[in-house]
């Protein structure tokens, strides 16, 4: 683990924890403020790469498991992680790594292609992987049939798609700043 990976992971874990106590802020196009957590996980993957992002989310989940109130709404503890929404949190670890693996750096002269590819990366990692872990977990923990579990979470999909697009846009702007 290079020092840079270590520092980036620590920073993003700290960001994830800090944003749990900050009031939810409005997103573009969505009237309801959504939690920034998934958005930040996608951004982490897009901006710092798979290793640092995966490590950051792993440490975040460990800190939440110990009991510190770093989950959105200042919640925490093993109880939340082993509960119905636990899968969506644990799934963020491989999700961040997948986003990082599939993300691309700036593409010369074609910002739209860059954003499109990063949106795809964010969707595959930030939505598909997380739901692949979260939905079965939800079904098993609550004992509800699989189809019903899917019905429950379908409500969140549009918001998550918007988050993926926003993440790709923001990552592109961040990369422009730093280049």
């Amino acid at each position: 683990m290079t020092t840079r990976t270590l520092v980036l992971s620590a920073l993003f874990t700290a960001l994830l924890c800090a944003l749990a106590v900050v009031p939810p802020i409005p997103m573009p196009l969505v009237p309801v403020p959504l939690t920034l957590q998934t958005l930040l996980v996608m951004l982490a993957g897009l901006v710092v790469g798979p290793r640092a992002a995966g490590l950051a989310v792993l440490i975040y989940v460990v800190v939440a498991a110990i009991g510190f109130p770093v989950l959105p709404g200042a919640r925490g503890g093993l109880g939340v992680l082993l509960g119905p929404t636990g899968g969506f949190l644990v799934g963020m670890i491989p999700g961040a790594m997948v986003v990082g693996w599939l993300a691309t750096r700036a593409i010369e002269g074609k910002p739209w292609l860059h954003i499109a590819r990063n949106t795809l990366a964010a969707v595959l990692g930030g939505i598909v992987v997380i739901y692949l872990v979260g939905v079965p977990w939800l079904a098993i923990v609550t004992g509800m049939p699989f189809a019903k579990a899917i019905n429950v979470v379908v409500v969140f999909l549009p918001g998550d798609f918007i988050k993926a697009v926003v993440a790709a846009f923001l990552a592109q702007r961040v990369n422009r700043f730093l280049v």
């Binding site: 620590a10 924890c17 093993l78």
Partner: protein
């Protein structure tokens, strides 16, 4: 300095209160960090099993009282607390709406108790102590994966130190955006936050490399010759 006559009873009360605060703080600070963290894990799991409102509210009250005693600042700053109070209020209203008033209160007391317990642990445990615990826990596993326990302990220590900095950074960015007349929305806040974070990363990386922190397992404290230190 203001001197005023206290009645004997008030004086005794004053001494007791001072004594209690100091004693409790000392007791909590001298407890080993691993013990406190295990206690936190136990609490956070036990709360989920507890459903009795009376027990939950008493535990919550006790934890808040302990937290208030252990704090070094006298007054509770409403400016810092209102986002937290807002989140708790929202969760309470949501649970009350979905599962009834009792479930709402159960959720609220659980949140308050856990939050106060975690704050107490954070206030009474030094970062070094926590890093030591992490290193002790990780060392047996370091033979399985090629992980240097000192690096992982450094990672945890850094994360703990950076959390308040990130909150402060958030407030700074928010004020800067408001000063520009820009509305506080996700896309306006996150880009400055990330850029500042990544710039900070470079400075931190250089500082850590320069000091070679976390390179080896923590060295034993070197005792200098008595003459060198005075």
């Amino acid at each position: 300095m203001n001197t005023y006559k206290l009645s004997l009873l008030n004086r005794l009360r004053h001494i007791c209160r001072l004594g209690l605060r100091r004693t409790l703080r000392q007791v909590l600070q001298s407890m080993p960090a691993g013990f406190k963290l295990l206690g936190l894990i136990f609490f956070s799991t036990a709360f989920i099993l507890l459903h009795n409102i009376v027990w939950l509210s008493s535990v919550a009250l006790v934890m808040v009282w302990v937290w208030l005693i252990v704090r070094t600042e006298r007054m509770v700053s409403w400016q810092k607390m209102w986002p937290l109070a807002l989140s708790f209020g929202v969760i309470f209203l949501y649970m009350a709406w979905v599962s009834g008033l009792q479930e709402g209160f159960v959720a609220l007391f659980r949140l308050i108790a856990l939050w106060a317990a975690a704050q107490t642990v954070m206030l009474t445990t030094s970062t070094t102590a926590m890093m030591q615990v992490v290193e002790t826990v990780v060392t047996p596993f370091s033979k399985l994966c090629r992980a240097n326990p000192a690096r992982i302990a450094l990672l945890f220590g850094l994360t703990i130190r950076l959390m308040p900095l990130m909150v402060q950074q958030w407030h700074e960015v928010r004020e800067a955006q408001q000063a520009r007349g820009v509305k506080v929305k996700a896309h306006n806040m996150l880009v400055p936050m990330l850029v500042r974070t990544l710039n900070r990363a470079q400075a931190l990386t250089d500082a850590i490399d320069a000091r070679q922190l976390g390179e080896t397992v923590q060295p034993k404290i070197q005792t200098h010759s008595p003459s060198a230190h005075r």
